[in-house]
């Protein structure tokens, strides 16, 4: 299983080590880590809470992973997404891709993030220092980011 949804934090270095241990065929590892920003819309953020749809989340992430394997010669993919209450500076999501050459690893990591952001059933709720709380709105730019991959199908 190379898709994990968890409340615990992750460690990028140890995840790479697990993925590459004992292998000499991997030439490139790309990682993307998404973090909680300390402000949103000019307001100080206190917490970001991530809700998800257990079962569907894993199914969507596995489908995206399989799609990436079809598009690029990848030796490994890892997707870790945290849920629950997170504080500014905390890790939210990790994507790791491994391939013989960098091009596929870079492209696949971007593809995985673009797909994840528009399809995986996660929702973010922010609470602010002034006491307000609000669900994060989806961004049109995320849909546009996805479209460039669809035009390459």
């Amino acid at each position: 299983m190379t898709v994990r949804v968890q409340s615990d934090d992750f460690d990028v270095a140890s995840e790479i080590e697990v993925l590459t241990k004992g292998r000499t065929d991997i030439g490139a590892v790309v990682t993307f880590t998404g973090l909680v920003r300390g402000s949103a819309g000019g307001r100080e953020l206190v917490t970001m809470t991530l809700e998800h749809y257990p079962g569907m989340t894993e199914a969507e992430l596995e489908a995206v992973e399989a799609d990436a394997h079809r598009r690029w010669p990848l030796q490994a993919i890892l997707i870790v997404h945290r849920v629950g209450e997170l504080r500014p500076g905390a890790n939210i999501v990790l994507v790791v891709t491994a391939s013989p050459h960098r091009h596929a690893a870079f492209q696949a990591a971007e593809f995985l993030m673009d797909y994840l952001k528009t399809r995986a059933p996660f929702w973010k709720k922010e609470t602010f220092a002034d006491g307000a709380a609000a669900w994060v709105d989806a961004r049109e730019s995320d849909d546009e980011a996805l479209q460039r991959w669809q035009s390459q199908e």
Binding site: Y53, R119, P121, W123, W135
Partner: protein, 89 residues
Amino acid sequence: MAHGPDITLRYFAWVREKTGCAEERVTLPAGIETVADVLSWLGTRGPEFEDAFRKPGIIRTAIDQRHVKPDTAIAGAREIAFFPPVTGG
């Protein structure tokens, strides 16, 4: 045919908060055939649901944990979920 609650409805994020419901078993009224029909019906189930489903175009739907469009038929569905556009990553 057996009657009684035959389908699970699930609600997430602000749809869950507005309806005050995370999950329920219901029997859909006769004549409901598509996702859009379910959305319209949900909006008639009291003030909380009316508020949550006031703009059904915003709500996303999954049948048995797969994304579907409003014109999708619900025949055979075991679980239908309603939620805002996703914001993970």
